[in-house]
């Protein structure tokens, strides 16, 4: 296949970026999207041109490194799919594919398709944990967790921290990310002790970091590569509301 690419190029965080057009011949339908970009880069380097910077690591949809819009969709075509799982068989000969980095105030572009997602780490540091030192833990079976709660907590915990939810949201809200962590820990008995503090602190930090508000459009759920549902946002709202009534500052 022959593919035309329209890729965001930006030298560094301060530089002004623009779209650069490339053409790539001999694209195999079996190639993954990332391998297509690899072969573009190999070609560019050989031609003495600057390759395209982009992030990827595990190629198993679990590390969350990928941060690409493909034709306007975070992680490209396909439901519950991360960029590394997109294959060129999703495209046709002659297609033009537009590739951009996440666009969100809280995720500034570092270079080309690479963005800075430290804001997620800061959100986690604001409360995305249970305060337990090594060696203090009680026997894991002394705290019973019903299968349904454990499974539901897992569904929330499956978040890979890629930031597609923020990228998909017109307000660049991090509600789904925060909701997943708050819900996971609030669903488990061991996480309930700090549940209120956690919800309040993480939401406050989210505002402080410049993430926008949630207006329940569901765009985050639609683009989440792990299928994390907005019912967790409803849970976060409940947790937050009840915490703000009962937890004195």
């Amino acid at each position: 296949m022959k593919i035309k690419l329209n890729i965001w190029k930006q030298a560094n965080a301060k530089a002004k970026g623009k779209f650069e057009r490339y053409e790539l011949d001999g694209v195999d339908a079996e190639m993954s999207f990332l391998e297509m970009l690899d072969s573009l880069n190999e070609k560019l380097i050989k031609e003495g041109k600057e390759p395209v910077a982009f992030e990827h690591d595990c190629h198993e949809a679990i590390c969350g490194c990928c941060s690409l819009y493909i034709n306007g969709h975070p992680h490209g075509p396909g439901k519950e799919t991360a960029t590394c799982q997109v294959h060129m068989r999703s495209f046709k000969d002659g297609d033009t594919i537009t590739v951009e980095p996440w666009r969100a105030k809280s995720f500034p572009v570092l270079k080309d398709l690479m963005v800075d997602r430290k804001a997620f780490d800061k959100l986690m540091a604001a409360g995305g944990f249970i305060s337990i030192d090594a060696g203090q833990a009680p026997d894991a079976n002394s705290v019973l967790v019903g299968k349904i709660d454990a499974d539901k907590a897992f569904d929330a915990a499956a978040c890979i921290g890629c930031g597609a939810c923020v990228a998909a949201c017109k307000n660049s809200s991090a509600m789904l990310f925060v909701a997943a962590k708050v819900s996971q820990l609030a669903l488990l008995p061991q996480g309930k002790v700090e549940a209120k503090r956690r919800a309040l602190n993480m939401v406050a930090k989210m505002d402080e970091l410049g993430f926008g508000s949630c207006t329940n459009t569901g765009a985050c759920e639609a683009e989440c590569p792990k299928g994390i549902g907005i019912d967790f946002i409803a849970k976060l709202n409940r947790e937050y509301l009840s915490a703000s009534f009962s937890e004195a500052e």
Partner: protein
């Protein structure tokens, strides 16, 4: 050649660790805040070690090359994490886990270290659970367990097929808590480029800030490497594409011995190579072999679709060769058997380098719903990559490089031969012998991080309380930084014609061909020559675009490939030296009449620890003799 002292405490096996803890040197809480520790790597060993040491009151600086510590490749572990809890009332015990691990490692691991990991395994599960890791539960609320290969009890805890992710996020959240408390400081997007030794002790590291390109000096009282394995030496492997051996090689060049470098696990069930552009192979969990049957056509070159081949014309070669264990033989055995069929022309798929893993019978017997419950996420992943549904047509699989049992040599303290330099998790060599059992990697990494390194590092630091953190202006730091800078400049000044990736691919091909699943003297010698040629070509024809002082992914790749080339030579030297077959190291010259691996205990019951002697010089071999006082050393048989 000298003998190595592993510093194993005296006394009965089951009492060694308790005795160590009871008699080790301590650092008082008041003094801990005066002591700085560098932890490199944030996977299932590094993040817990950093968090646990910070919880104790030490000042911890944590480094990772990814944008966030949560992306370390432990995140991709699928199946589970072992613990000797006897949850199923099926006779499990600390001793059994210890025994299975020693046997699974083909009697090439150190008894005392393995026993200690088994001993703390239950604490690991308690700790992770308390952190909010959502392990699978029974309806009654207790922990659920599954069974893995090579054992006869059910001791594997899991969180669907994403156990590694959940376990890693437990450590990551503990680390984030310490970052919030100001006890740990996180340095992400930093690649370690050298370890700094002052007066014979590890005192810091040199890093490159991957965003600005700046070279930074970081000093501490000790350095803990949790930098993972080097399976990407084959280029195509199940590892993340950025996983690398650079930190280990820097330590090696500074004098840390490298233990059993040639012990590399080849995982039997991976999605085969689909095209020449491929950069990564995807693992399909070992658990699939519980229900999937592995076969190839009986007729050579049979091109019919798998469904059209009747049962009597199929060769279920694992069931045929190993009737007792069938499809559940250990990883090394399954991998070699698949390779044997493909090498003889019976392989399937476009390339002939694949075998079928067929769920037809399991679906017919148990129904699609049950199979979907067990393996739904894996089947979906397979379909996304290949476009085929495993419910309809058999999976095609082939072995791929996976886990490295070899690594930096460490003593019982998890300390390398450089005082103050520790290696934990997959980065060290100590617990898996010549073959790792499924679900033991998460266990070992987490055990090292949460419950072993905090004690042994304290034991070391007790003698450091009156020493100040060295100045980063000291000559050793300046010299190390200059070396790093010279090296980076060298990469950029070559200005040749070939990309770093193209060299990595060729190196991977050499290693896979001659130092992969099967090795022999002739092939290994060929590999030696080809690696030397490749190295020359690399240093004269490499092409790196861009500059040092900016984001430069090609420069990052090149510096990793340079280390892989040197490590490849070391692996081949080790593989040549060990003229026996054991675990994953299969020397064709040492096999039984039936083609099974044959250990030679009288000559090779030792850990080979290699000492750097200079660039392109033959490393020096040191031996740690292995003593087995608590297990009977036997021949592994699965027939």
């Amino acid at each position: 050649m000298s003998k190595l002292d592993a510093k194993i405490p005296e006394g009965p096996l089951a009492e060694k660790w308790s005795k160590y803890k009871a008699t080790q040197k301590l650092v008082s809480p008041n003094n801990r805040k005066k002591l700085d520790i560098i932890v490199v790597g944030t996977g299932i060993a590094g993040a817990p070690a950093a968090a646990s040491l910070a919880e104790m009151g030490y000042n911890v600086k944590v480094f990772c090359f990814q944008d966030s510590p949560r992306r370390a490749h432990s995140v991709a572990a699928q199946g589970g994490i072992n613990a000797a809890r006897n949850n199923k009332n099926d006779g499990d015990s600390v001793y059994r886990l210890f025994y299975d691990t020693i046997k699974g490692g083909d009697y090439r691991a150190r008894e005392a270290n393995v026993y200690r990991v088994a001993e703390v395994s239950s604490n690991v599960i308690d700790q992770l659970t308390a952190q909010g890791v959502p392990f699978a539960r029974e309806y009654g609320g207790t922990l659920a367990n599954r069974t893995f290969g090579g054992v006869q009890v059910s001791r594997t805890n899991y969180a669907q097929g994403q156990t590694g992710q959940q376990v890693l996020l437990g450590g990551y959240s503990a680390l984030k808590r310490q970052v919030a408390l100001g006890k740990a400081k996180m340095y992400s997007r930093q690649q370690m480029l050298d370890v700094v030794i002052i007066d014979g002790k590890a005192r810091g590291i040199i890093t490159r800030n991957l965003v600005t390109g700046e070279i930074e000096r970081h000093a501490a009282h000790c350095v803990v490497l949790a930098t993972g394995g080097y399976g990407t030496i084959y280029y195509l492997s199940t590892l993340a594409v950025q996983s690398n051996a650079s930190a280990a090689m820097q330590a090696f060049r500074k004098g840390a011995f490298f233990g059993n470098p040639s012990f590399i696990q080849i995982h039997p069930t991976c999605i085969p190579v689909l095209n020449e552009y491929q950069s990564k192979l995807t693992l399909m969990s070992e658990s699939l072999r519980n229900d999937g049957r592995i076969w190839v056509p009986k007729a050579e070159g049979d091109k019919r679709k798998p469904k059209e081949i009747p049962d009597e014309e199929r060769d279920y070669f694992l069931e045929r060769r190993y009737p007792a264990f069938g499809n559940l033989v250990p990883r090394d055995v399954a991998s070699r058997a698949a390779k044997e069929r493909c090498d003889n022309g019976f392989g399937v798929g476009k390339t002939g380098l694949a075998v079928y893993l067929d769920f037809r019978d399991a679906v017919a017997k148990q129904g699609k719903k049950v199979i979907k419950n067990k393996y739904g996420n894996l089947f979906a992943m397979y379909e996304k990559i290949t476009g085929d549904s495993p419910y309809e047509t058999p999976m095609m699989i082939y072995p791929a490089g996976h886990y490295t049992m070899g690594g930096l040599w460490v003593d019982y303290n998890l300390q390398t031969t450089i005082p103050g330099l520790f290696a934990i998790g997959e980065a060290n060599f100590s617990d898996h012998g010549a073959n790792r059992l499924g679900a033991n990697s998460l266990l070992q990494g987490a055990a090292d991080g949460y419950f072993i390194a905090p004690y042994t590092v304290s034991n070391y630091l007790a003698d450091e309380i009156s020493n100040k953190v060295p100045s980063t202006d000291s000559p050793e730091f300046v010299e190390a930084e200059n070396g790093v800078k010279d090296n980076l400049e060298k990469f950029l000044s070559i200005n040749g014609t070939k990309t770093a990736t193209s060299f990595h691919k060729r190196l991977g091909h050499i290693m896979w061909t001659y130092a992969g699943m099967q090795r022999n003297e002739e092939g290994l010698k060929k590999a030696q020559a080809e690696i030397a040629d490749l190295k020359k070509e690399f240093w004269s024809d490499l092409k790196i675009p861009g500059k040092v002082d900016e984001i430069n992914q090609e420069l990052e790749k090149a510096s990793r490939v340079a280390d892989f080339i040197d490590l490849a030579a070391l692996i081949v030297t080790d593989a040549l030296n060990r003229k026996e077959s054991c675990g994953a190291h299969y020397r064709e010259e040492s096999r039984t009449e039936g083609g099974e691996a044959m250990r030679i205990d009288k000559d090779y019951s030792f850990v080979a620890a290699w000492e750097y002697q200079g660039d392109d010089k033959e490393p020096k071999l040191h031996k740690e003799e292995l003593k087995f006082e608590n297990v009977e050393v036997k021949v592994r048989s699965y027939k």
